[in-house]
């Protein structure tokens, strides 16, 4: 039996490829012994990667960069070997702001009141996309609003308690808030950056060096699982799997809705870890002074499409990136 590969994940819809690969024994079919660890926070994932208690994790690219650069906790050499999903986040605002937003946009809403907006982590796609969108609409994310950090599962409750005015979160939390009549989706993340990379597979660099064959098998398994997650006819079954108490613990129909890529849900197809995307994230971290200048080099070294290619993954056709202000 191969050595155990320990992968960390959070209770989110876009952890689907890893959960499916485990459930459908795709890892086992590739000769792998993978154990999944559902963690309570991104901080736990980052710390456990740092301490060597995990070989890899479903990760936020900016957090992987922060770990690799030593910006939070212990500096940890990581490899981003594939992207696991694209899109899937949304900025949800409190229902009471809907009228004003419809009339005057986010700039109008922010002018009337200093908004308190939550993101899932200080180093997250959510934070960088929210900032990009605010800035593109003439709202200074550092001065004109307050950005705080909340666990995804606590966003909806905080919105209900008026502790926040809105949040940028992943599926299915925007749907949960809308379903409860507490909020409305102001903008989907795909409308901020079309088909933006969301979660990635981050692996400890020492594990990659020690077991390149294992990494290849892991990527092959996840490419297969990603393809299965992308299949529209499997969405209900996937939602049922994610609805389980040990994962999302939410009603399956709600999750199924959140998984629809046509409605802004996560897209599991594009899996190439594009260096250009790493550069974009690093550039935004610099823009908001969340990282020192060296982050560009760290991000470039972190993304390793060569691992993806070795596992049979193809490079996508060159695409033109489309942003909300382009």
């Amino acid at each position: 039996m191969a050595d155990v590969i320990r992968l960390g994940l959070l209770r989110l819809s876009d952890a689907a490829p890893v959960i499916l690969a485990d459930q459908e024994k795709i890892f086992a079919a590739h000769g792998l012994h993978v154990e999944l660890f559902v963690e309570p926070s991104w901080a736990n994932i980052a710390d456990k990667l740092g301490y060597g208690l995990l070989e890899g994790a479903v990760m936020l690219p900016p957090l992987a960069m922060a770990c690799a650069a030593g910006l939070r906790g212990r500096k940890t050499a990581l490899v981003v070997s594939m992207s696991l999903s694209a899109n899937g986040n949304a900025v949800t605002l409190a229902a009471r702001l809907e009228e004003r937003f419809a009339a005057a946009g986010i700039a109008g809403v922010a002018a009337a009141k200093k908004l308190r907006l939550a993101v899932v982590h200080g180093f997250s796609t959510h934070d960088l996309l929210l900032r990009y969108w605010l800035a593109a609409n003439g709202v200074d994310p550092d001065r004109d609003v307050e950005i705080t950090v909340l666990p995804p599962a606590e966003m909806v409750g905080s919105l209900a308690a008026d502790a926040i005015d809105g949040f940028c979160g992943g599926a299915p939390w925007g749907q949960v808030a809308a379903h409860a009549g507490l909020g409305f989706v102001a903008v989907q993340s795909r409308a901020i950056w079309r088909d933006h990379p969301e979660k990635c597979l981050a692996l400890r660099a020492d594990f990659c060096a020690r077991d390149p064959a294992g990494v290849q098998a892991l990527l092959r398994a996840l490419i297969t699982a990603g393809g299965m997650c992308a299949a529209a006819d499997g969405r209900d079954a996937l939602a049922a799997l994610l609805a389980a108490p040990n994962y999302l613990d939410l009603p399956a129909p709600l999750i199924a809705t959140s998984l629809d890529p046509a409605a802004g849900g996560p897209v599991f197809a594009p899996q190439y870890p594009a260096p250009a995307h790493a550069a974009w994230f690093a550039g935004q971290l610099l823009r908001w002074r969340k990282a020192p200048a060296g982050i560009v080099e760290v991000a470039a070294a972190l993304y390793r499409p060569d691992f993806f290619a070795a596992a049979g993954g193809g490079a996508p056709e060159r695409r033109t990136e489309v942003f909300c202000d382009s």
Partner: protein
């Protein structure tokens, strides 16, 4: 020095706070409100140090403290995750305080860290000892039941039944409780078959 104890387990937080206060008069110990978000608690109390339960989902908020302002950088001592002792050990081995700790003077942190670590070590030793005691009681009960079975079914005396189990344990190089359990299982099964047949 202001120390924020952010533990959602109220009893544990109270006990740890008492320990810290007893340790040094200079420690001002603040407890986070039960429902309060960790980042909000840090902003409200601006502590010099946070002792935080690793299992808190809002621990992510602490990663932003440094982002918000370098002046806010504070050492974080992570502790206790009962379900995950390996994680805590790794955190301690890594010096737990490394988190957000730039070049802050370490001596100020050491006594707090020592107290916190001693506290949790003792808590863990106590629960280990409790588990051990429970195991011993269960083992003794199994042996007693097996002896009673031998005394009633095989008409052995109590010392003979004891010696019987002891000899088997030595022959098979197993614990006496395991031998007793196996005996109870096999006789119990035979008993059931007799009843059903």
């Amino acid at each position: 020095m202001k120390i924020l104890v952010a533990d959602r387990d109220g009893n544990r937080a109270a006990a740890l706070s008492a320990q810290l206060r007893a340790q040094d008069d200079a420690f001002a110990v603040i407890r986070g409100a039960d429902s309060e978000n960790l980042l909000d608690a840090v902003r409200r109390t601006s502590p010099d140090m946070v002792l935080v339960d690793m299992a808190r989902p809002d621990r992510d908020g602490l990663d932003s403290v440094r982002v918000l302002s370098a002046a806010n950088a504070l050492p974080v001592v992570m502790f206790v995750d009962d379900d995950d002792p390996e994680f805590m050990e790794a955190a301690i081995a890594a010096g737990v305080t490394s988190y957000h700790l730039y070049d802050l003077a370490l001596p100020a942190i050491k006594p707090v860290l020592r107290t916190a670590m001693a506290f949790f070590k003792r808590t863990r030793q106590m629960s280990a000892r409790l588990a051990e005691a429970e195991e011993q009681i269960a083992a003794r009960q199994t042996i007693e039941s097996a002896k009673r079975l031998l005394m009633t079914q095989d008409k052995m005396s109590e010392p003979a039944a004891h010696r019987f189990l002891q000899r088997r344990a030595m022959d098979q190089q197993k614990k006496m409780a395991d031998i007793a359990a196996a005996l109870l299982a096999s006789r119990g099964k035979a008993e059931e078959e007799k009843k059903n047949g």
